[in-house]
Amino acid sequence: MTDSQIKKNSLCYLYCFRVWFILALIILFSAVPDKTYSQDALIRTVVISSEDGSPMVGANVLIYSSGQNSELLYNCVTNPTGFCEIRRITPETELELRISYVGFSAHSEIFVLEPDERRTIRVELETEVGALEDEAVVIGDRVVTTGRAGVQRVSSDDIARIPTPGVDGDLVSFLQTEPGIVTTGDRGGDLYIRGGTPDQNLVLVDNLPVVKPFHVSNLFSAFSEEVVQNADVYAGGHGAEFSNAMSAVIDISLRPGNFRQYSGSGAVSPYMVSLHAEGPVIRDRQSFMVMARRSTIQSIAPTLINEEVPLDFGDFIARYTLRFDNMSCNATALYTKDSGEVIPTRKIRSEWSNTVFGTKCLAYDTGLKYPLEIWAGYSGYNNSERSDTEQERYSSLNQIYLNASLREQISKVSINYGFGVNFRFYDVLLSEKFADIRSVNRIIPIMSLYVSGNWEISEKFEIQPGLATQFSVDHAGGLEPRLRMAWKPDGTDRQELSIAMGKYVQMFAGVSDQRDVGAVFTVLQPIKLADKVPYSYHGILSYEQWIGRSLKINVEGYARSYTNIPVSKWTPEARIRIETANAKGLSYGFDGRMQVQRGKFFSSIGYGWSNISYEATSGDLGAWIEEPVFEFSPAHDQRHKLNAVLGYEILGFETNIRWELGSGKPYTQIFGYDFAVNVPIQDPDEDSGTARTLFSRPFGETLPYYHRLDFSVGREFMVMDGWNLSTEGGIINTYDRNNIYNFDINTLQRVDQTPFFPYLSIKLSAL
């Protein structure tokens, strides 16, 4: 038996042992009778809007004692399905249920529960005439998360404030206004969050993983304001519910379709056209929502801005929602396709696509002691680079998965736990001019387990410990402890100090040519049997303070360490090689945000400072670096980033401004262009030699500052009964500054980002 076989067998035994151990814990939890509180009752509420039957996310569900001096006893906030549960309610006691949501009339009713009763209440909230001003919107989270450390909750209103050259706002445009989130520029579709690389991020749409839903034009993603209900962005410190992501999680919930009325819209703009439709299949029970978009910029740009923009992309999203008395389910499908010459002078076309479909059900039948959530599906992703004549590189990842999540209550602590099985199919094919063809073709099953507790120790202090683990046939990820804590000095949401920390393991790696600022193609591959699994440690400290009713300030510091990060080995010629070297990484920094919402005026200013460094043994990276251990700042180390978003409504016109100033990112200078002649075997007078571009000290220089101002003005018109016309005019890059994206290393031609780009967008909606 070989060493690798012995290691595999050992891992299998460990795998089986852990599975049985965790399952035993689950059975134990379920079997232990809750004798202490067996008399207590629980109430489950589903809150929907009377306007369209859609679930109300973030509605406050409060239970007071009845009588003159009523006192708040219990509370919860509805999640994206409009559901929330309150347990351990004293039975045979008259209580008052109040449900409220901004802009809707509150609901109130008196109720008494029997011992051990599990009651489900469905409540419809009516729209209230005259919206409330100066009140923050509470956004309910899909996953219970203690404290604000590392978490940004994004609503469709937040997305709508960012000028984009399409009528609707887009999630990725909003994300780029956040400190700590960096892109390579206006193209490429990659997000770097607090030092992590794009392959270290987990993007979920209705619980379904999507590898790269951001389009080749960084102004757009698959998630327009029209389809997004809300999104939780975890810039690290995410809980045990999320695994296999070393850096960040973007958890997106789509809107269900309108349960009461049919509606649709069509929009045109210089960048894209879109169509959308939604409506009830069975009123209040089943609804659908579909949206399709296709870019037009490639054909319009030469006329509009006298420049070629060789970018082509499109997406399709569909959601089917079923709502039963004690269960809600949805089926979601997403398809994206991107193609573009990210660096036009190279004549290399980068392409990628995502195909995702799956289903999710949340069951809360009265027969169930605890709610149960199950989801399953398929996610496919492939990316490639091709010249005019052939495909040069290809990498794909296909996944089939099944997950379940349950909840328990032990004394004051609510326990969430679950498991998942994910079969991952990797396929890599690299075909290069001067190298042998190399390929990877493997199926790796990964099992993941987690348990997380949420404990409100007092009205001021709450903790959320968690533990996750995952393992495959090749590797055991080990235990991943997580901890979140929140302290509210005055016991209210106006002031909060929170901490998040944990260990995060990833069972695969993404490798791209990090020496090239414009590198888009990424090889996704499993961790080799002989290599160690990459992991990171996060630590985040956050403070948030409300001043008055309209000003919110947030300051957050973070630090992360990375271990066993694969980086592509350095070669004289810029090309991908599947051989990697392991590096260590360290990123740290702080973000500051100030947000004001006062009447029709909104502003948000954010500043981020960060420092990212990698370290590896020079001999592993490439023998041409002199120091034995080489430390460098990678291409996404943007030291300073200042963002401002302003919004103001005047005379019916909505004005939005987005402004960004960022320091340049590191890049590697060219040391020389050479044709190496292999003397004396080759003769200089007969052989041209081998072309090679030689790099100077890695990431030794910094690109110029990035500076951009985007501006938009929009207005809605009612053209006739049931028909609405939305118009928006704006400018991208109002300064017309030549913000550099990349330079072609072979011709030294500079590639700049979007120039001065005026646009006019029109959207016609039928209600």
Partner: protein, 280 residues
């Protein structure tokens, strides 16, 4: 009204900042200080003329950028103080021009040569080589029988390196055999000769798949051919360096020559020991 004032103030601030920070957008992608020229050349002492490739490392791979070269190439014999400015010939391949500077005269052995490439701004680099000596190799004794040791002597060699292969043709069904490479350097600090000693029978035994049974009597032709390359000091080591240095790899210059030595042998049977065969 107050909100309007705030909005307008912030907007003006942003626009003003735009004018302040819209300057200095330049980028210098090429590190002009580190790389100047690459030089590739191997002076062959057996040729009447040689070529040295010189390339401006700062010029990208385009036809326009490579058509001209800002370089003056000076070829010097440091022992005789001879100096000569070299002319170039163009080679157009892979859509770029390559400049090959011609050394029109034969190269002398055991001589110091230097090439200096100078840019118009005065920046220059130079490479040099001490050409190998050109000794006539002597094999002694020759035409002797299979079990008689033969010594091949190169005198003098000094610090240079000789790499050689040995070829001979055994009888059918065996193929022409090539052994090597062998590396030969001077005997010691005090002895500048390089010597290689061998017994012909040891070479015949190394014929693949012969089970060491072949002898000189099995040779189709009664001689061994020595194909050797004599490299200048340090040149062989440079060509076979295991580590890679980006900067050093752009300077590859040296000298060498190739030749052949034929060592005849007496292929008659030697008895004993060839007449004594052990029974299996």
């Amino acid at each position: 009204m107050r909100s309007t004032k705030i909005f307008v103030s912030v907007l003006l601030f942003i626009i003003a900042t735009g004018f302040v920070y819209s300057c200095d957008n330049t980028l210098e992608p090429v590190d002009y200080d580190t790389g100047i020229y690459s030089i590739y050349g191997a002076l062959d002492l057996r040729k009447d003329s040689n070529y040295v490739r010189v390339r401006d490392l700062n010029m990208p791979f385009t036809t326009e950028a490579t058509q001209e070269i800002d370089a003056q190439v000076l070829f010097e014999n440091l022992d005789s103080d001879m100096q000569e400015l070299l002319d170039f010939e163009l080679l157009f391949e892979s859509d770029v021009y390559h400049h090959n500077f011609k050394i029109p005269d034969p190269i002398q052995p055991n001589t110091n040569y230097q090439i200096t490439v100078t840019r118009s701004d005065g920046e220059s680099i130079n490479v040099s080589t001490l050409t190998p000596t050109n000794p006539d190799p002597i094999a002694q004794p020759i035409n002797e029988k299979c079990y008689t040791p033969v010594v091949i002597t190169f005198d003098p060699v000094y610090e240079s390196t000789i790499e050689f292969y040995i070829e001979f043709q055994p009888r059918a069904p065996f193929f022409r055999t090539r052994l090597g490479p062998y590396i030969l350097r001077k005997n010691s600090e005090s002895d500048p000769r390089a010597q290689f000693s061998f017994m012909p029978v040891d070479l015949t035994k190394m014929v693949p798949m012969s089970l060491s049974r072949l002898r000189c009597t099995d040779l189709m032709r009664p001689y061994f051919e020595f194909y050797f390359t004599h490299y200048a000091e340090g040149f062989y080591e440079e060509l076979n360096a295991s580590s890679f240095d980006a900067f050093e790899s752009t300077q590859r210059f040296g000298s060498y020559y190739r030749d052949t030595l034929v060592v005849p042998v007496d292929t008659s049977r030697v008895c004993p020991p060839d007449c004594i065969r052990l029974k299996r």
